[in-house]
Subunit: 619 residues, 2 copies
């Protein structure tokens, strides 16, 4: 069954495609796509806040859906996303009002005295009284007086803008269009030159960079695109890049220039597709982990990489986009999302904003799993964060047949009672195994008794014959053949799980789990108290929740329904901050308010780590 | 008696030399040198606040001086500057406490809650707690936390400075020296690198630019130097320069680059003489008229030059010094003194600050005479300003034998009862006549009856024979020969005063006088109400007060003792603003608070102008 393709679900107007395991709810699928829907009733189908509209494919309404919607609505394709399951390829339209962030933050959130979002880029067409002998105000005073009450308390103009504004004022009888970025006059044009202003949000991941183009006046999404982070040539993980920056004379600039060109290229690609000029892009917001943020700004992250892990900056940083080398509007500004600490970065803060962790009234656990697992606990506005060093196993590194989650990677492994079944990304002939596949595979081996709770592989009695035939003695002890070489892409070697692979997974999942356990212990909560577990980021988004529980990466007594995918919450949070300065203030506040616990060197973390490496007993 | 040299008086520690008419008080002489002394008693010799010390030359104490000072003090050379007259060359030391501005503004002035001046550049040596697992604050937070309470409420760091600071912090165990310019971190150096920080103040005159170098930490004066304004190649007066900027494609930049190189050269000269590095100059403050300020910043002044005379900016402008092309410390900031209106500029605001016009409890008239005469009336904090278009006559232009106040210019003319006596600048053979000489000459002719009150030249009966012999019929009517060609420098032509010259003077002095009269009328005051008239600027500084009264440039019934010279008050005000941000705030406040009256197009001004062209009757 190698290469079975999961249903593809498309969400509009975002125009994002995701592969979704059959049977997942549309809410969950939307989460994988980074679209977080309202769920005031927690998926019970009673609040009616997650309405979507089926455009293509099938999605039969269940009973509660019919209860919440009129017959006409159901005929027109309206569904409650939390109650409809993905059965095959489908396309859904997600109305503005169903989006969690938009409704909670952009409309009625954050700054109670302000109606609606507060974009940082604003444009005004002004018809100013022309000067006379009775009114000899300077050009700039005439302009700022007219902006009083409309714009921030006081607007500023740099030298270049001041030079420009006089000409613009006099060119068309003091009718001008002013573009403000924050409180700074970015552009003054004669006459009514109003038009859309654009901005870019970036999720700068260690592996992948995602860019979002939006009309910052209307909030309209104008596309998204992604690229591999080109810094990878200097190391797959953040630490090797930090080392390169610290040790090589031009190391920092090698890395800085690469990430800046990546953001430039992505932005240009998005602008080209949307048919807009680069000079109308006035704002860039980035969310990245602390080391990515430092490298992007050209700040040396060397001290984050060593005890006691201190960054150069923690707060959100604002600068002229040109100062880092980005070439959009000459006056474009840049904002990097604030970090919590050296290993809980702006991507996590963005995630807290996107999921409004501060508003969760019941205990919520947010986990972003990657080379590091960042963990945030939230309840009633209280926030606690820590980072667990998972290592690169989930990204396929140090695994004998490991690979990244690319085409041909085995991403799902199941035991159907008789035989092991796999699927690969894109349905291609298998080339190796990625993190989700490894977790699935070990889960099967645990279920079959071929891996003991302590992690030792063994050949138990009563193994189904087909499975037993896959076990063999390798160089490093027992190993399990997932795919024989004849079925692999290059037909050169078998894809196996070795004893050492199992040990690597124990280290990785043990780190995450011990981080969760230590955070919960500090909080004084037990698994029973958890209302919800939010899985963020690319890896978290594709993990099989039951496998994550079965290997004990997450507490095994956690009900699976409590686990939610929140998609690329870093990108969503950055996008929110691009469209609303209130979201930036919120990010700054949450980052400062979050209690950070340094796990490194804590004796209780070491103990928890030892305990967490053990797999749960078979149920 | 051509070329008689006036006594030279030197003031220390400023090290300024001035030529002083014999018999003037040392207070007045200090005013000519731009050093304004206290005079709480108005020169009665009773308050004892203007003590100076005679270092060289003679200055016999008068009775009131002996009353105010002890015998020992008098032996040591101490004198009351208001009661000692200049009899010949001399040198005086001016103690800090005798300076008007320093005592009134820098020490107990402006911001009652702040003790002493508030320099904008500050340096701190900090020993920060090194980071640990318990204290993982970012480098910049560690630094700003340590500055809390010492520095402005919140310090900012640009990208470059942020890049620099981490290295500096870690280089010497978190012992660092921070230099702040305003609230911006300008420099972070490892260890205790404290040293003096320097700044430059400039008076950007249309004709002459004066630069002052000071240690901004201590306020110590480190020298002054002056140059001709190199923009003069594009016109002697502001209007022809504004035209050049408006009409020629690169006109603005021609002018901008010239004034910037002038400031750069002056600053480099001053730094070289003081033996300091350019990279330690962190602040530049300029005072110039509104057009000069625009040209310096690269703002096109074309609309100041035409009705309704609106500037691009009026307020003080702050920018990176590098943005206008100045090359001092890479992080040096620039501040241009705020203007009142298109024709009452930052030089006048600086003068208001230097003379604390806002604190004058009795009606005070401040006049800066040049191509334009700027006039400010002040009493009890109320301020009213206007500008009168005097034209270039005072600078020697459009006068048949006119010249600027340069070597060889006739600057004084007297009638000794028998004959006309002249003196020239530098005692050189006469080359022409400058503004002060022209005023003196016409005063003599008025006294002799050779010029009628209406301005017509005539040959009255009973003229002393030597004077009568100087009158002759020229091409344009009667003319008066001041110096025969054989006594001139080039022996090529006589130096004469023509009927037309008298008419030009009438226009110039009439403009000033009508400005004064209109301002007084708007204020509702008469000459009797005037407590003091302050003459500022180069021309005002060298004028003969009695001549100014005799030709009616100032109200003829004004007692001569009420006229004071305040020297280069623009430069002094700029210097005060360099050393004290309180003085900048004051300047901003005074400029905004001053009621500006536009004389152009006012019928009462036209009427006053007609009346003011008439000379006073002989007394």
């Amino acid at each position: 069954m190698a290469g079975r393709i999961m249903p593809k679900v498309r969400f509009l107007p975002d125009d994002v495609w995701v592969d979704v395991p059959e049977g997942e709810t549309v809410s969950e699928a939307a989460g994988r796509a980074g679209i977080i829907l309202n769920s005031a009733c927690g998926g019970a189908g009673t609040c009616g806040k997650c309405i979507v509209r089926l455009i293509e494919g099938t999605a039969p309404p269940d009973e509660s859906t019919t209860r919440g919607l009129s017959e006409e609505e159901i005929e027109e394709g309206y569904r409650l996303a939390c109650r409809v399951r993905v059965l095959g390829d489908a396309a859904f339209m997600v109305p503005h009002g169903s989006r969690f962030y938009e409704q909670q933050v952009l409309t009625d959130g954050i700054a109670p005295s302000v109606k609606g979002p507060r974009p940082n880029v604003r444009q005004y067409f002004l018809e100013l009284p022309p000067p006379s002998l009775e009114d000899q105000r300077s050009d700039i005073d005439r302009l700022s007086d007219a902006l009083l009450g409309k714009a921030p308390p006081s607007v500023e103009a740099g030298l270049e803008e001041t030079r420009e504004l006089s000409e613009a004022l006099h060119a068309d009888s003091f009718r001008v269009t002013v573009t403000l970025v924050g409180s700074a006059i970015a552009r003054v044009q004669p006459g009514d030159a109003r038009g859309s202003c654009f901005g870019l949000a970036f999720d700068i991941g260690t592996t992948t960079v995602v860019g979002y183009l939006a009309d910052v006046s209307t909030g309209k999404d104008l596309g998204r695109a992604s690229r591999s982070n080109p810094q990878a040539v200097f190391g797959q993980d953040v630490l090797s890049r930090a080392r390169h920056a610290a040790q090589s004379p031009d190391g920092l600039w090698d890395l800085q220039e690469r990430i800046v060109s990546c953001l430039q290229d992505l932005g240009e690609e998005l602008a080209r597709k949307a048919g807009i000029g680069l000079d109308r892009i006035y704002e860039i917001v980035t969310a990245g982990n602390t080391i990515m943020t430092h490298l992007f700004l050209g700040l040396n992250p060397r001290h984050i990489a060593q005890v006691p892990f201190t960054p150069v900056i923690r707060r959100g940083f604002s600068a002229a986009a040109a100062d880092v080398g980005l070439r959009y509007s000459g006056r474009a500004r840049l904002f990097t999302m604030p970090c919590v600490a050296g290993y809980v970065g702006g991507d996590i803060t963005a995630g807290m904003v996107a999921t409004r962790l501060d508003r969760r009234e019941k205990l919520t656990l947010f986990i972003d799993i990657g080379t590091n697992g960042e963990i945030v606990l939230a309840e009633g506005g209280k926030l606690l964060a820590c980072a667990a060093p998972a290592g690169p196993a989930f990204e396929g590194a140090r695994i004998s047949c490991g690979m990244r989650a690319e085409l041909g990677a085995i991403d799902r492994v199941r035991f159907d009672g008789e035989e092991i079944r796999i699927s690969t990304i894109g349905g291609r002939p298998p080339r190796g195994i990625c993190g989700t596949g490894l977790i699935d595979a070990v889960r099967c081996l645990l279920d079959l008794g071929a891996v003991e709770p302590a992690g030792r592989m063994e050949r138990p009695d009563g193994l189904p014959p087909k499975v037993a035939g896959r076990m063999r003695e390798g160089k490093g002890g027992l190993e399990f053949v997932l795919v024989g070489r004849e079925a692999t892409e290059d037909r050169r070697r078998d894809i196996v799980i070795t004893q050492r692979d199992v040990r690597e997974l124990q280290l990785a999942k043990g780190a995450i789990r011990s981080g969760v356990d230590t955070a919960m212990a500090i909080w004084g909560a037990s698994v029973r108290d958890l209302d919800r577990v939010l899985l963020a980021g690319g890896f978290g988004n594709y993990i099989d929740r039951r496998s994550a529980l079965a290997i004990g990466m997450l507490p095994e007594d956690l009900p699976v329904e409590k686990i939610e995918f929140v998609g690329n919450s870093a990108g969503m949070g950055a996008r929110a901050a691009l469209l609303d300065v209130g979201a930036r203030d919120l990010a700054e506040e949450l980052a400062a308010r979050t209690q950070y616990v340094e796990l490194s060197g804590r004796p209780d973390f070491s103990d928890a780590f030892m305990a967490a490496m053990v797999f749960p007993e078979r149920r």
